[in-house]
């Protein structure tokens, strides 16, 4: 947890700066709006954390979010009575995609970078093959409640954070970190390494499903809804001091990383650095943050479990 202190300081600083630039932020409604906006990325970051801390990557979450939303719209097609069955199906899809990612990575020994890169292509290809190139259908009001009403989003975020923290405190979480830190030692201590990783991928898939439900609910159907979310989620996790390659970092810090990233976007927006230079600033900050974290531990390998 000590590694995570800087991220909380940075986050606090950003929040203060936002409040200074926009006092509305301090009102409950303003803060609620911020939380609602962060929720999907924070949930994705929590899911991505499990995969990263176990020493892998999940590049498929962005596509998966899109798939979830597009599938929901096509199946619900405005029919309220379909809401709950489809919600259940989305959760199953998320878990299933995670399961496949996990099995291909562990059993077929395909590096997760490639597994999930392939999944990314397959998922977005398949869903648009199914809908003919652009989303079809519509979400029901019941479905959209979760993303539109701030209270729901915050509630779901709270549940996700609590669950993530509890999971990380449980045997599963401790052994998962062990897997990411030293797979061999974990295996020789009786840890079911493959199973732990598969579960991590499933958690990531689940988080993408939840994020998809929130994002789809928030703004409706869109083919771009998941675009580049995988990179944002990974960036958030790394900003939280979690080490790519696994074995180090705290889930709360990863979520704080998501808050930091979103706060950074908000602040840049408030100061009119939107669009153009926003990305440049973001790039520099990410490199700087990771470099600052890495320099304290000079013994890092170039590429830990090698992507």
């Amino acid at each position: 947890m000590k590694r995570a202190i800087p991220i909380f300081l940075v986050l606090a600083g950003l929040l203060v700066a936002i409040a200074a630039a926009n006092p509305f932020f301090l009102e409950p409604a303003g803060f609620l709006a911020f939380l609602k906006r962060v929720a999907p990325l924070a949930i994705l970051a929590a899911g991505q954390y499990f995969v990263i801390v176990s020493g892998e990557f999940d590049l498929s979450v962005g596509s998966l979010v899109t798939v979830e939303v597009v599938v929901a719209a096509r199946l619900i097609d405005g029919d309220e009575s379909m809401t709950w069955p489809v919600l259940a199906l989305l959760i199953v899809i998320g878990l299933l995609v995670g399961l496949v990612n996990g099995l291909v990575t562990t059993k077929l020994r395909v590096p997760s970078f490639i597994t999930t890169l392939g999944a990314m292509l397959i998922l977005s290809g398949a869903v648009f093959l199914w809908t003919g190139g652009a989303p079809r259908g519509a979400l029901s009001q019941g479905f959209r409640v979760f993303g539109r009403e701030g209270v729901w989003a915050v509630l779901i975020l709270l549940v996700v954070v609590t669950t993530a923290v509890l999971l990380m405190r449980a045997d599963f979480g401790r052994t998962l970190v062990a897997v990411g830190d030293n797979e061999k030692a974990a295996r020789l201590s009786g840890v079911r390494v493959d199973r732990a990783r598969v579960l991590a991928f499933m958690i990531s898939g689940l988080s993408a499903a939840i994020a998809g439900i929130l994002l789809g609910g928030f703004a409706g159907v869109s083919a771009q809804v998941g675009q580049s979310l995988e990179f944002q989620a990974i960036t958030a996790v790394v900003l939280g001091g979690v080490v790519l390659g696994g074995g180090r970092g705290h889930v709360v810090a990863a979520i704080a990383g998501a808050f930091t990233l979103e706060a950074l976007f908000t602040l840049l927006n408030l100061h009119g650095i939107s669009g153009a230079l926003e990305y440049a600033v973001q790039g520099v900050i990410i490199i700087a943050a990771v470099a600052a974290g890495g320099l304290r531990l000079p013994a890092l390998r170039l590429s830990p479990s090698k992507v």
């Binding site: 291909v104 292509l121 230079l277």
Partner: protein, 317 residues
């Protein structure tokens, strides 16, 4: 069959031949034919990705990877086209400027990875974002103009062979030669194989990683020049539209180079790129939906790597 699969490079070429054959049959059933023109098309289509992927091979062999190539390609196309400004007399300056920018980006990538000890994934992603910010800030759309003389690079043919394909071949051969016959090549394999062993053997590992990144970026720069010549202008989205970042990594891995580094080579990458291009061409012939194509590509890449992993045996830690 076993012998074919035993070596990823051979496997990818076997797959290439098989795809060509199957594709030919499918196209024939569809009532079409594979013509010389299609072959030319394949070469044209492969050239830019091929050049980037050859560079990416160097980064990956050295145990790193480069996610910034796509934005770099866009940047280079703009630098080149703007410097040329339609004047043939500016071509040389433009090429030098474009390659200079590329080398600089590669240098930054390499230094951030080795000296600041930032994981290559984050380092090059961060650099990509910085380039993206610069592009968004400076450019709204296509800019600059490439003189007709320089467009020859993208359009001219020598006999049936496009100049672009020759350029790709030249880059591939140069890098193959570098890997096979130079000290740097040897050391790229060593560093990718095991940094610690390389360091203890007296290799300046940081320099090797930096050099690999500079070369990788230079290849991206050459691809950017090629694309500028094809488009007749620079375009701020040409790199990302082409998906050259992830696609080049996919091609390298498809060619049997280990993502962990130290194993593989340019020959495999060329095969990987050709395989993707042939798939593309067959799909084009069959007028297959582009989404279906993505699905097939995804499957092909994962299956190929799974096959290689099967024979390489259990990954150590």
């Amino acid at each position: 069959m076993i012998a074919l699969v035993a070596n990823p490079t051979r496997a990818v070429y076997a797959a290439l031949v098989a795809t060509l054959a199957i594709g030919w049959v499918l196209v024939a059933f569809d009532g079409g034919t594979f013509t010389l023109n299609d072959m030319v098309g394949i070469q044209q289509r492969s050239a830019a990705l091929g050049i980037v992927a050859v560079g990416q091979t160097l980064a990956i062999l050295a145990g790193s990877l480069d996610l910034s190539v796509a934005y770099l390609i866009s940047l280079v196309s703009l630098v080149a086209a703007e410097t040329m400004a339609g004047q043939p007399s500016n071509i040389l300056t433009a090429v030098v400027a474009a390659l200079g920018v590329s080398a600089l980006v590669g240098l930054v990538n390499g230094i951030v990875i080795t000296k600041l000890k930032v994981h290559a994934f984050i380092a090059t992603l961060g650099v990509a974002l910085v380039i993206r910010g610069v592009l968004d800030h400076l450019y709204d759309g296509p800019a600059g103009r490439v003189p007709v003389e320089f467009q020859q690079l993208g359009y001219a043919r020598i006999g049936p062979i496009p100049v672009a394909a020759l350029l790709w071949a030249a880059v591939a051969v140069a890098v193959w030669f570098l890997l096979r016959r130079t000290r740097l090549g040897n050391r790229i394999y060593a560093v990718g194989g095991d940094v610690e062993v390389a360091r203890l053997s007296g290799v300046r590992t940081d320099r090797v990683v930096i050099a690999a990144h500079v070369l990788c970026s230079l290849c991206a720069g050459v691809a950017g020049l090629l694309l500028a010549s094809r488009l007749g202008a620079g375009a701020p989205t040409v790199g990302t539209d082409g998906g050259y970042d992830l696609e080049s990594i996919a091609a390298v891995v498809l060619g049997g180079t280990a993502l962990a580094g130290g194993r593989g080579g340019v020959a495999g990458t060329v095969g990987g790129v050709l395989l993707l291009a042939v798939l593309d061409s067959v799909f084009n012939q069959l007028e297959v939906n582009s989404f279906f194509k993505d699905v097939v590509r995804g499957v092909v890449i994962v299956v190929a790597v799974a096959v290689y992993a099967r024979r390489t045996g259990r990954r150590a830690s």
